[in-house]
Symmetry: C2
Subunit: 394 residues, 2 copies
């Protein structure tokens, strides 16, 4: 099997003319067999037309086809936007023979501009004809907006001597791009498992991966994460230990996609894992980690390779979580640079100054209270981020 | 009376050598009479040494002297930092004859560097000698860190035919500056009122002014707002209607200081008032306003004069407050540019595109639910902000 194949799935990416200049902007993913699926959408109250349509019309546990356009978010486009989704999905259904309710639509791009539905409709027959088991790279390119490169990853595990493959395709990070960015992340697998198991596993994995990356803290109107399992593998139906192995593998694959997304955040040059431990609860650790991970002062210091533990201490202190600051400690890749006793630890300073020059490192904040822990991945705030996001014109 | 005078108060600003190059870095404010006062500190769990000292040792309702150094935050400096505060306050007390517990110390500057207490101690006699009723401008300069200009403002009201003066002095905005910014805001007035009334009024005014400005969302370890009232005016003791007039005047003065602070946020070129109305509660409106006001995508769009209502809609949608997005409307200086029905309103677009070029404008978000309302002031996120905050080296 080729590098980006998974049994029983085909994909395609073509240009339908939304972006112009012949750039690919329309992708299709199809399982040749019926499948079970799990889909998680953005928690933003404002949702784009394809999400509104899918929640009303699609059977989210039985998706076997995903159609995605880039270059236009089809968000804030009113009833006309929803009609456009309906027409595009209808055309995909007509040409592929797959029932409408088993098709998941996604869009990513500018908000508030009507979707040029005619262009998509005209391209659908060509798109379906282009479907190929080697089409995933082209499809991954077609869903990109301001991504620097297409994002694919693949894992294989063995269950009872038989291979199961997982293939992940993703784009963009949160609203990293001006009205254009959206996180889309699809996993296709030939594993056989129940829709209920898949849903439970997928939700946990989303919480532990995509929900822990911070580019700018904004969530888009279009974010969608999905996994489709068609059972084409010869392996037995997953349960018990097998199911746990599969979950670990899925989580690892999704974490890799999440890291690809955050390290390709607009203008990003570094990624830092912010780990917090010792709070009363995991929820408290999350609040501290997000306070540090979203701090503009922390993110600009990361960009400038500035050994600036003071900003981390201040961001942890303002998180709203109660702890004894006298017991707080901060580590850079394992070297303690601050605390306890609210004073810097000069022993770690030399290492800390080296660590901040790395492309990827860990900042660990320990508050001596309980067993709570959490981590997030954050990118740096760069001059390019501000340039890209201020110079864009609607 | 001179422009920056208030009866019964004197001030001074000198150079004690923390900043170097002869820059002023030590300020003193003194009431010649006993006074009542109200002091509000940062809510950050991590608090600088002068705050720890003041909470333990000062009588915060009876402050009549404030000593401030810039160039060093005296934060994360351990027990030695607290000893330094004690020594400086002791020396101010010895030279002025004012009891230690009536002196409020403040510091602003780098975190984690020991305060050079000897330099401050040597300068205190000179500082006290320099006290003058015309010393407020020099004192306002001496408390600056990266501020572009000293911040003073003054108001006069009449009570029963007698004048009451309020003089405000402030610096910096949140942690706008790398380990260096802190908001300090002092108001000196010759009004006569009870410590209880002053405290109640001051807390409300802080909530409605300083707590509503957003530069980068970080709060410092040193933020301090204080008001000192010495009763030197011939006006009667404030109560009833007089007290309400005084509160309005104090709030107006503090709002002016707050706007000076946010518009002098590092690199800031524009200030936007984000007003939210129609939520169930004021608290909900606050969450929506802060979600929009802290959004990096909104702040970069403001910088680029990009007419980008989509980012405002998305930021409101992700605030966590439940409302019907179909009813949401967005206005730029009164012109509706979005909603209802989740679609743009083309009628307002031409005005909106003009409004975003202004130095100061209002974005109003209306969600048709209840009577809740709130507003914040936010500055833009600029290339200079990232440059200043990434190139600083600890």
């Amino acid at each position: 099997m080729g590098r980006w194949r998974v049994a029983g799935f085909r994909a395609a990416g073509v240009s339908c003319g939304i972006k112009g200049k012949g750039e690919k902007d329309l992708a299709l993913f199809v399982s040749d067999l019926p499948a079970v699926s799990s889909v998680v959408f953005t928690r933003n109250l404002v949702q784009a037309a394809p999400l509104i349509w899918a929640k009303e019309r699609a059977r989210l546990s039985g998706i076997r086809c995903i159609v995605v356009n880039s270059g236009n978010a089809n968000a804030c486009t009113g009833p006309e936007g929803i009609r456009s989704v309906s027409r595009v999905v209808g055309e995909v259904s007509r040409v592929t023979g797959i029932e409408v309710e088993k098709i998941l639509p996604s869009s990513t791009g500018v908000i508030g501009v009507p979707l040029p539905a005619e262009r998509l409709l005209r391209a659908v027959p060509r798109l379906v004809k282009a479907l190929s088991e080697d089409g995933f790279e082209e499809a991954a390119s077609a869903i990109m907006t301001t991504d620097a490169y297409p994002k694919l990853t693949r894992r294989v595990i063995r269950v009872g001597g038989e291979k199961i493959t997982l293939l992940g395709v993703a784009k963009g990070a949160g609203m990293i791009a001006p009205n254009m960015g959206t996180m889309l992340a699809y996993v296709f697998t030939d594993a056989r498992l129940t829709a209920g198991d898949l849903r439970r596993i997928h939700r946990r994995c989303v919480e532990e991966t995509f929900n822990r990356i911070i580019v700018d803290g904004d969530t888009s109107t279009n974010d969608t994460a999905a996994v489709v399992a068609n059972g084409a593998s010869a392996a037995r139906t997953l349960s018990g230990e097998d199911l746990r192995d599969f979950e670990l593998c899925l989580r690892e694959l999704m974490e890799e996609l999440a890291l690809k997304i955050v390290s390709d955040g607009e203008g990003a040059t570094r990624v830092v894992r912010i780990s917090v431990e010792g709070t009363s609860t995991d929820r408290e650790a999350e609040r501290v980690a997000r306070s540090v991970g979203t701090s503009l002062l922390v993110k600009t210091a990361v960009f400038g390779a500035d050994f600036n533990w003071g900003r981390i201490v201040a961001a942890a202190g303002r998180s709203g979580v109660r702890f004894d600051p006298e017991k707080m400690e901060v580590f850079f890749d394992g070297a303690r640079v601050f605390g306890p006793g609210l004073v810097p630890d000069p022993a770690g300073a030399a290492k800390g100054k080296r660590v901040v020059k790395k492309k990827f490192y860990e900042v660990r904040v320990r508050v001596g209270k309980g067993k709570g822990q959490y981590h997030v991945y954050t990118s740096d705030l760069t001059l390019d981020y501000v340039k890209l996001n201020s110079e864009y014109t609607t």
